[in-house]
């Protein structure tokens, strides 16, 4: 059973306490977006087999949205972090690199520092 630690209230919540919310760090498209932008934002997904960043809500706990870094091929959890960040924070990146030396972020490191 999947267990994630809520970064807000610190509870080790198992998955029936949580609500999944799909891929994280999607750039929201506004009124000036093209059809292609909206298609990409609303529907196209990385659907990675391996390191995956995703949204979760601590639905039957504190109720807040948070983000998790997880491996979809092994179900290993690398860590959870607050949702107010455009990219995963450095400690999450380090935890992933430790477990997956071959993995490289698909964003530029300068963008990655959010907190």
């Amino acid at each position: 059973m999947l267990i994630l630690t809520c970064p807000y209230c610190g509870v080790n919540a198992e998955e029936t306490e949580l609500h999944p919310g799909g891929e994280a760090h999607l750039a929201r498209i506004g009124p000036n977006g093209t059809d292609e932008d909206f298609e990409s934002y609303l529907f196209a997904r990385k659907n990675a087999k391996g390191v995956h960043f995703e949204r979760w809500r601590h639905a039957y706990g504190c109720g807040k949205w948070f983000l998790a870094a997880r491996c979809t091929a092994t179900l290993q959890v690398f860590g959870t972090y607050r949702a107010q960040t455009p990219h995963p924070p450095a400690d999450i990146v380090d935890a992933i690199r430790k477990a997956r030396p071959d993995w490289t972020p698909d964003w530029t490191p300068a963008e990655g520092i959010a907190e």
Binding site: M1, L2, E15, T16, H19, P20, G22, E23, D35, E36, F38, E39, S40, L42, F43, A44, R45, K46, N47, A48, K49, H52, E54, R70, T72, A73, T74, L75
Partner: protein, 454 residues
């Protein structure tokens, strides 16, 4: 009860024995006692009788296992039901037999061998009903068409209405189906009880208020569908190459040139990607993204018991569906997990949720032991409808997004995909299922229409 499906005629029974004989033969071949040659004989009652007289030593392999050529006209990636059906109808309907079907694992070892074998076409939206009804009608004659008994058993299928909303929804589906030419009807609770005596109509949480009934829905032997198509493809001279993983897609000026595989580079004019849960990975190799997320869907079977239910019952409000296999096992499916997953095993609480719901509706199963539980990786689209489409890369076509309900669609999917691959443009069956529907907001919204399980 459930075996009545096979009473239709003697050749059907003979074919069934033929399929068993082929399995015995396939096992022997793996031990190296049989020559590695494609089959040369029709399965029939006479073949059975002849072989019975010589200790069944004359059976040959059902399909060949050749080494790949350097180039094919069409490469189909994925030797599951949909991939093999695509290849089969390419040959049968369009005369294209320079085809390789390549598979990273073994034939039919993905979702084709992991589903609950339900066949139905009671969809609400017109494009869906047309596609699934094409598939269901092809299933009716598939054993004869392939000369391989797929054990199609049109035993009838009921979708239970357990809320007032479902009553309205399913009655609407009956009206829609009647206009679409799909034979379905509404059953009131007493009619339903007569068809399913083991059902408990007054469930404490969700009483059974009626049902949507499709008399020609049912089940089929899932492995046999893959095996039958494989045998027919091999017989047309197509190459089925197992244990051959695609590691890259080679393109030049926006046009597909070849695939790189664990057995080397294989050139192609056209590439059909029919890989269900791994569609996004193949698309990424070719340089585009798909509106797909892969999640785990589970099923389980009980110990075998005496015949007790000769229809398929689906309960969409409580996430459970059940039928009885020919061996007597109760075959049970439930809902998907909510998060991305490629491990082919799902969350325990979904098993609990499914079984808890079904025990309310079928109290007699409460003391059954469960024999096996397994998972498959299903490719979910935003509108829960499949994708049959050309792609941003010339010569590459995708057939994916069947989500939790692909098995029922195999023949129709292959039929429509073959036309798309052969002509380069979709025919009437596939036309509405293109990738461009997501950009245009032209959804075929079965997620709302079908409730959940579909």
């Amino acid at each position: 009860m459930s075996h009545v499906a096979f009473r239709r005629d003697l050749p059907q029974a003979a074919l069934r024995v033929g399929a068993v004989a082929a399995m015995v033969q396939a096992t022997r071949s793996l031990r190296g006692t049989m020559p590695d040659t494609p089959r040369a004989r029709r399965y029939s009652v006479f073949a059975i009788a002849r072989e019975a007289l010589r200790q069944h030593k004359g059976w040959t392999r059902a399909w060949a296992s050749p080494e790949p050529k350097s180039r094919y006209k069409v490469i189909v990636v994925g030797a599951g039901g949909h991939g093999l059906a695509t290849a089969y109808y390419l040959g049968k309907n369009f005369g294209i037999t320079d085809v390789a079907v390549i598979e990273k694992g073994w034939l039919g070892g993905g979702n084709t061998g992991r589903n609950t074998t339900i066949i139905r076409s009671n969809y609400l939206q017109d494009p869906s009903a047309a596609l699934y009804e094409k598939a269901r009608s092809l299933y009716e004659g598939l054993s004869q068409d392939l000369n391989y008994n797929i054990m199609f058993s049109p035993r009838g299928l009921i979708m239970l209405a357990q809320t007032e909303h479902e009553i309205r929804g399913y009655k609407r589906t009956v009206y829609a189906n009647n206009l679409q030419g799909v034979q379905t009807e509404w059953l009131d609770p007493q009619q339903l009880k007569a068809k399913v005596p083991i059902i408990n109509l007054d469930g404490p949480r969700y009483p059974v208020l009626g049902g949507l009934y499709q008399a020609r829905g049912g089940t089929a032997r899932h492995d046999a569908v893959a095996w039958g198509y494989a045998r027919a493809c091999s017989d047309m001279g197509m190459h089925i190459i197992q244990n051959c993983e695609v590691t890259g897609v080679e393109t030049e000026a926006g046009q597909v040139r070849a695939v790189n595989t664990s057995k080397g580079r294989i050139g192609c004019d056209k590439l059909a990607i029919v890989v269900a849960g791994h569609s996004s990975q193949l698309a990424a190799m070719a340089g585009f993204r798909l509106p797909i997320e892969s999640v785990a869907l589970q099923a389980l079977v009980s110990e075998p018991i005496k015949p007790c239910m000769d229809v398929v019952v689906m309960a969409n409000t409580v996430h459970g569906y059940m039928s009885q296999s020919d061996k007597g096992e109760m075959v049970i499916g439930g809902g998907t997990d909510g998060f991305n997953n490629f491990t082919q095993r799902g969350s325990w609480q979904h098993v609990e949720e499914t079984v808890r719901a079904l025990i309310e509706t079928f109290p007699m199963i409460s003391r059954l032991k469960m024999l096996r539980q397994w998972g498959g990786i299903v490719d979910m689209t935003g509108d829960r409808s499949p994708i049959l489409s050309s792609t941003p890369v010339g010569g590459i076509f995708v057939n994916c997004g069947w989500g939790t309900g692909g098995f029922k669609a195999i023949p129709g999917s292959g039929w429509a995909m073959a036309e798309l691959v052969a002509k380069g443009t979709p025919g009437p069956l596939a036309a509405d299922f293109g990738l461009n529907r997501f950009r245009e907001g032209r959804f075929i919204d079965e997620s709302v229409a079908a409730g959940v399980a579909h």
